[in-house]
């Protein structure tokens, strides 16, 4: 049973030519018949499945559609055409700490972020001290987040996101969080989650990490799949261009 199943997924953004950012401009352009709607195809006919325990790496240059694909997988962006099915709990580790608020304390942020991910608040409240400790920010948990260093914020976000088991991990270059010590710690935790049967989709420009972690690789170019298969082969082909 695949955990992730994408069938002929297309995503088209509607873009207004001349980029009318305001109603005034839109109205003016409309009167002059200059406003034209153009469809920008971000993803074209993407189909693949991911089984539990698989680690799939997504490669591609900027603008190839990697972020759009992650948004579709996270369920945030509905496909224009086709279907995207993801089963179970998703832990999105994309720009960690996106739900954090600078005026709230570390502990409050942990609880809030967890609630955003659909976790049980009561349970998280009990876990908060442990999360703070794992992130190495125990003595800061009762202070507002604006007093944290950026490394501390990233560590706390990673610790929170990975505190509960998830069925699907969506990872966007987060392995580079914190100092070397913490990087090892977080890598170990990722391996643990993969071993426990989570499906992982990983977007990375770090080819070494892709070779090391991934069981399969997908190469995106201009919104469609250019190549899919064994990570070593795909990486080699990708790097050759």
């Amino acid at each position: 049973m695949p955990v992730i199943e994408l069938k002929n997924v297309n995503v088209t953004y509607r873009v207004l030519m001349n980029k009318s950012g305001s109603m005034k401009e839109l109205f003016r352009d409309f009167l002059k018949r200059k406003a034209r709607v153009v469809d920008y195809v971000a993803l074209q006919d993407i189909s693949f499945t991911v089984e539990a325990g698989e680690v799939v790496a997504i490669l591609g240059r900027n603008g190839a559609g990697k972020s759009t694909l992650l948004k579709v997988l996270a369920g945030v962006l509905p496909p224009t055409k086709g279907t995207s099915k993801v089963k179970g709990k998703i832990a999105p580790m994309i720009e960690l700490g996106a739900g954090f608020h600078l005026e709230m304390t570390g502990a409050e942020n942990v609880i809030f972020y967890s609630a955003l991910m659909g976790r049980d608040v009561k349970h998280v409240k009990e876990r908060t001290p442990a999360i703070g400790e794992w992130a190495g920010v125990s003595d800061h948990m009762d202070f507002p987040l604006r007093t944290f260093s950026s490394g501390m914020v990233a560590r706390l976000a990673f610790a929170t996101a990975t505190d509960e088991k998830a069925d699907v991990l969506l990872v966007d270059e987060v392995l580079s969080v914190g100092d070397a010590d913490f990087q090892n710690k977080s890598k170990a935790r990722m391996h643990e989650m993969i071993k426990s049967g989570a499906a992982v989709v990983l977007v990375s420009h770090d080819m070494l990490a892709v070779r090391e972690l991934a069981t399969r690789a997908i190469w995106l170019e201009a919104g469609h799949v250019k190549m899919i298969g064994n990570p070593a082969e795909v990486v080699a082909a990708y790097e050759a261009t």
Binding site: V11, Y13, R14, G21, S22, M23, K24, L26, K71, A74, G75, V76, L77, P78, I90, P92, I94, E95, A98, G99, H101, E103, M104, I111, F112, A115, L116, M117, G118, D120, V121, P144
Partner: protein
């Protein structure tokens, strides 16, 4: 409901975050309407106080108007803003996006209910008693929350699509404020103007509120019906518009 906990956290955050760095914190929620009312009272009481019919008192009349308008104005602005300001989250983690505008409207409702405490004090000081119909204020609050949430949902889509929406909305809200009998008694206006102002749904909300709380206005059955239908229509249109345009709008965040 799965997201009840999140809504509670969002409402609490909305209520506390604004005053996080201040000494008296949430106490501002009590002080704010009192101070605003006091200033306006000093300015307008000479002009309008004697124009209210019967035993109606100007200070609670004014303050009730300010409480309700603050609820509406702030509710509309911040729930419309909520989607854009939570964009970074909404593009990464799946949560039903409607939760944000709705929580903001709910926070406005809580603020409104807290505001009833200073309103009670002002009522008693000015020698007016709280009416037995006071519990009906609860219905007014719910209706107003539905109205603001509905408008907020619609606007939140427009806010993302067009940068200048917020400027237009601010102006419209100000005009609306003058077309609502907040600080003047409606009877001082000409017959024609009174008719126009009666078309404003907020006039009905305000009449019902003032009447229910301390018998400080007259409310007819029509006011109740107008309040009920506008709130329902607003939330229905809001949820419909949001649902329809969200998939295309989220791509712009």
């Amino acid at each position: 409901m799965k997201y009840a906990q999140l809504i509670r956290l969002l409402v609490a955050r909305e209520l506390t975050i604004r005053y996080k760095r201040s000494v008296i914190g949430i106490g501002w929620t009590l002080l704010n309407p009192m101070l605003t009312s006091f200033v306006l009272w000093v300015v307008f009481s000479f002009v309008f106080a004697s124009r209210l019919p019967g035993t109606q008192q100007y200070a609670p009349y004014l303050m009730a108007g300010i409480l309700l308008m603050t609820f509406f104005n702030q509710g509309v602005i911040s729930s419309a803003e909520s989607i854009a300001s939570n964009g970074p989250v909404l593009t990464k983690i799946y949560v039903p996006p409607q939760i944000f505008p709705i929580s903001t409207a709910l926070a406005g409702l809580v603020n409104f209910f807290i505001g009833l405490i200073p309103l009670t004090i002002v009522c008693l000081i000015s020698g007016q008693s709280i009416a037995l119909t006071m519990p009906l204020v609860f219905i007014v609050g719910i209706c107003l929350a539905l109205l603001t949430a509905g408008i907020g949902l619609t606007l939140s889509i427009l806010y993302i699509r067009f940068d200048d929406t917020r400027n237009i909305v601010n102006v419209l809200l100000m005009i609306l404020m003058y077309f609502t009998p907040v600080f003047y008694p409606i009877t001082i206006l000409s017959q024609r103007l009174q008719e126009i102002i009666a078309y404003n749904p907020l006039t009905s909300y305000l009449d019902v509120f003032r009447w229910a709380f301390s018998n400080n206005a007259t409310a007819t059955l029509n006011d109740w019906l107008y309040m009920g239908t506008t709130s329902l229509i607003s939330i229905l249109i809001g949820t419909y518009v949001f649902k329809k345009y969200w998939p295309r709008t989220v791509a712009m965040l």
